[in-house]
Symmetry: C2
Subunit: 340 residues, 2 copies
DNA sequence: CTGAAAGCGCTAACAA
DNA sequence: TTGTTAGCGCTTTCAG
């Protein structure tokens, strides 16, 4: 590793001057500047980011805490976030908690403020006061996908109107003429997907339909869980003509279950998801879903986090992304008359 | 941020002692140890990882360079790698190059050796000499998925026998009675998937079949490219009964194309992939593929990288993972007689 | 416009 | 067993 002072020696100046040249501080004569630049090139000098961070009192990394980067939604988010971070000269450390609060806590304790300047939290199953604690210790925190614009948390966040997303799905199904729904809600009743279901239910109610409470299943956010729940649901309620899933993974599972039951999507049963992950486009039939502005949310999250770090923004802020949009593909159609 | 010396002051000792206590160096009296520990707890002290890194002359982070974390294969790898890194007290910075060598180079120049102690390279389209350069600058590099155990590169690597993977797919198809193949090879002729195709072709040759060269397409590693290539291929060569794809994504695209042509997988045409990504299990029909030991490769990559960093291993080493395994699902079956 | 010097928070000899 | 003292490589006042 060539160091600043080696460059300085070669250029016949002091390291402070080299530093000034490199940081474009101006206040350096053109000739010295050139000499320094030559020395830098000749030695192949690269600034030592760790040393710089210590001296500046700020780290060049940001942490992204997710439950599992292997969940198909996160990579798209992470890609955009990393891109945005890089555009601002920052690097991204990914932290998988596997939904274990202890792991999340350990990550925060270790790196927040000591290795990373700030933290992005993506549904990582961490208690709010834990987050507030790390914020108070000086490392800004932003919640990347807050689901309820109506009830902002006491932490900075990027909110997506998932209530509306649910409602959009419902209105789409209603518009097609469906009347008998089943709902698959990812994660437990009070959990992160509850708002999507509420949006769905209230749009149904508005259209004069009673809530399909007895045809609702609270399940894990996986293909398998969607599959199993659909199997049960359709056995108990064969009159169902449309399935609302609060996320794409269970929706995909539902489609597989329906196929295995010898039924056809969308002829016999329509299925909708929320998010629009990559698989949604690839599956057969392609999944009709409500797309969430993932990239925008990622960029906004990074922007907000940086603003917080640089104290350009007051701490409790919420920024809302564009509204989710229906992506109509092949898994939904008008219900067909069936023997009842 | 509470610092070491604040803790020291409260405990009535010097910061060196606190450091010793925290690093379990022994050589500290039991009472002082307790006093120090109390002070640490009382102040909520957390070591400043950046400062520690600078003092120790080693960084706690490792860099994972991939072309895009959004490619469905990488997240599974990244998850396992991050897990392994964490088990060794290391953090993982993900770097997406978007297959742009300039971005990759920029990453290496910036963080290798200055922020990260070592680098994991995952098909990132970086020239070998670039990598050798960063290695020579003192930051070990490991290639995470070298495709040819026969021809080790001059850099440390974890090799997977993709030649055999291709052969396994071929033998499976051959065993089913197929004779007329088409092949979809991800990336250009000389590219990363060439070895898989060679394995496939040589297994065919061994079974007395001539290479299906005129029925081979070199395409991008995407669902869409697989779809388009299959459409063309089947129009030109309707007699094909099986498609070998060098990766799962094109295989999935092939299945969709076949369906859109009004044909059935596997009744009319069988399809095989390589890797066994998550989608392979979810697609309908579920994809028969040759599973690659992703987690093992990730763990081995981390282990090797750490060994290199700690100079426990000579630099040009290659370690080979377990052999890929056939995962027989629903996309392959015996060919059926068709009018010729 | 350039240099000298202090210090970021921690570790690691070496002394005491 | 504990303290003293140098740094790690860089940035940043503050003088010159």
């Amino acid at each position: 590793m060539t160091t600043l002072s080696e460059v300085a020696r070669l250029a016949g100046v002091t390291s402070a001057t080299v530093s000034n040249v490199l940081r474009q501080r101006g206040k350096v004569g053109e000739q010295t500047r050139q000499r320094v630049l030559d020395a830098v090139a000749q030695l192949g000098y690269r600034p030592h980011l760790t040393a710089r961070a210590l001296a500046e009192g700020r780290a060049p990394t940001l942490a992204l805490v997710v439950s599992s980067i292997a969940n198909p939604f996160y990579p798209e988010f992470a890609l955009a976030a990393e891109r945005a971070a890089r555009d601002h000269g920052r690097f991204l450390i990914v932290c998988n908690t596997n939904d274990d609060p202890d792991i999340g806590r350990a990550y925060l304790d270790q790196i927040a403020g000591t290795l990373s300047d700030g933290v992005l939290i993506m549904n990582a199953n961490l208690p709010m006061d834990e987050l507030r604690k790390t914020e108070q210790r000086g490392a800004p925190v932003v919640l990347c996908m807050w689901e309820k614009p109506d009830a902002p948390p006491e932490l900075p966040c990027i909110a997506v109107d998932f209530h509306e997303a649910g409602a959009i799905a419902a209105r789409h199904l209603l518009g097609l003429g469906h009347q008998c729904f089943a709902a698959l809600v990812g994660s437990k009743k009070s959990g992160i997907h509850a708002e999507r279901y509420r949006g769905f239910a209230s749009a149904c109610a508005q259209a004069g339909h009673k809530h399909p409470l007895q045809r609702t299943r609270y399940i894990n956010d996986t293909v398998e869980a969607g599959y199993r729940a659909t199997m049960e649901l359709l056995k108990e309620h064969p009159q169902v003509t449309a399935i609302f899933a609060s996320n794409d993974l269970p929706a995909l599972g539902a489609m597989n279950a329906i196929a295995d039951l010898g039924l056809n999507v969308p002829r016999d049963i329509s299925v909708t998801g929320i998010t629009d992950i990559q698989w949604a486009r690839v599956s057969r039939p392609a999944l009709t879903t409500v797309a969430v502005p993932t990239e925008e949310a990622a960029r906004m999250s990074i922007d907000l986090l940086l603003a917080l770090i640089e104290r350009r923004s007051p701490s409790p802020v919420m920024r809302v992304t564009a509204t989710p949009q229906l992506v109509e593909r092949a898994s939904t159609a008008a219900p067909r008359k069936r023997k009842g």
